[in-house]
Subunit: 199 residues, 2 copies
């Protein structure tokens, strides 16, 4: 016997999400069946709106409902610094930190020869254009992830931008705050030692 058609479709849709297998998808689909109508209607329209209303900001590549995005439009922010991230969601993480008030630029990924992602697949051209047309920008902070691909992308950007006389920095590597040295991996510990600061 087959699942009733709407349930089968729902299971199929849930299974397309990352980390959700067949059993979990079935559980979620039947959970939706028992949810109240309002909540399901909201869920359904939130999905639709995500595709209908969201755009990428033409300046920084952030996800936004209005173009340019509210960060690019906000003239009270520090116009001298641009923090470069991999994904739009990284901007939210930075903003939640509440101690950075400059601008952003979203690459949309990282350089990855294995996955065939080259410089032309990322928002690098638009970053260079921003630097050429906006002489206010004095520093680029590269906040790609601390993965091999993220590091390589940071190196690539640094070599590309430095010759123009703009300061290029990278987020510090070291021990997590509150962590035990005992459990730190060798690479992190080695970066913590080489990046030591005077107190």
């Amino acid at each position: 016997m087959q699942y009733p058609e709407p349930v089968a479709k729902l299971i199929d849709s849930f299974m397309r999400l990352p980390g959700i297998g067949h059993k979990t998808a079935i559980r979620l689909a039947y959970f939706v069946v028992d949810m109240n109508n309002d909540d399901v209607a909201k869920f359904s329209s939130a999905l639709k709106e995500t595709k209908d209303k969201l755009r990428y900001c033409s300046i920084c590549g952030n996800l936004t409902e209005e173009n340019p995005c509210i960060i690019c439009k906000d003239k009270t922010r520090d116009q001298n610094i641009v923090l470069v991230v991999e994904q739009p969601k990284d901007i939210m993480v930075m903003e939640n930190m509440k101690s950075y008030h400059g601008l952003y630029h979203v690459l949309g990924g990282v350089l990855s020869p294995i996955e065939g992602t080259g410089p032309e697949d990322l928002n690098i051209k638009s970053l260079i254009k921003r630097l050429q047309t906006n002489s206010n920008i004095k520093e680029i902070i590269i906040a790609t992830n601390a993965t091999p691909e993220g590091e390589a992308t940071a190196m690539y950007l640094s070599r590309l931008i430095k010759p123009a006389g703009i300061k290029v920095t990278r987020l510090a590597h070291g021990l997590s705050v509150g962590s035990d040295i005992e459990y730190a991996d060798e690479m992190t510990l080695s970066r913590a030692v080489s990046g030591r600061t005077e107190i």
Copy 2:
């Protein structure tokens, strides 16, 4: 900074699902942003259809698009046996087994004094009515879960139905096929011993 409104709504909807916390909801929401339009549209309409098209079968309480459901309508199935389950999804599990060809009845839950679920909250009245109006039914198999509540519900139904001269059976308890005795819990092992069969 806030998430763009459609993303915030989507995160909120995902968080209503069981087993999905804030971080996972964010990850899923941003995954949806990158999904192709078609898949998101399908997902959105599957949610809507689940609420719009699904009904409970007036005979057995199964989830169905047509009333009565295809199992109740199927006259080739064994009309003498009714298997009683807690939830509609349990029917799918039984059907996937492919060795049961009788009818079903969905209780919609189990008796639970803690949660305030009494006999009147379950589809018990409709089961009794089925037994009274349909003299074909010779056996009721109670397939509630092997939890205290499931066991109590099974006992309750058995006492209710047996006096009418209908055979009432319960799924066997014992070792899972392929499992090690070493890892079986005491309760299961004790039921496996008391329910031993001659070979």
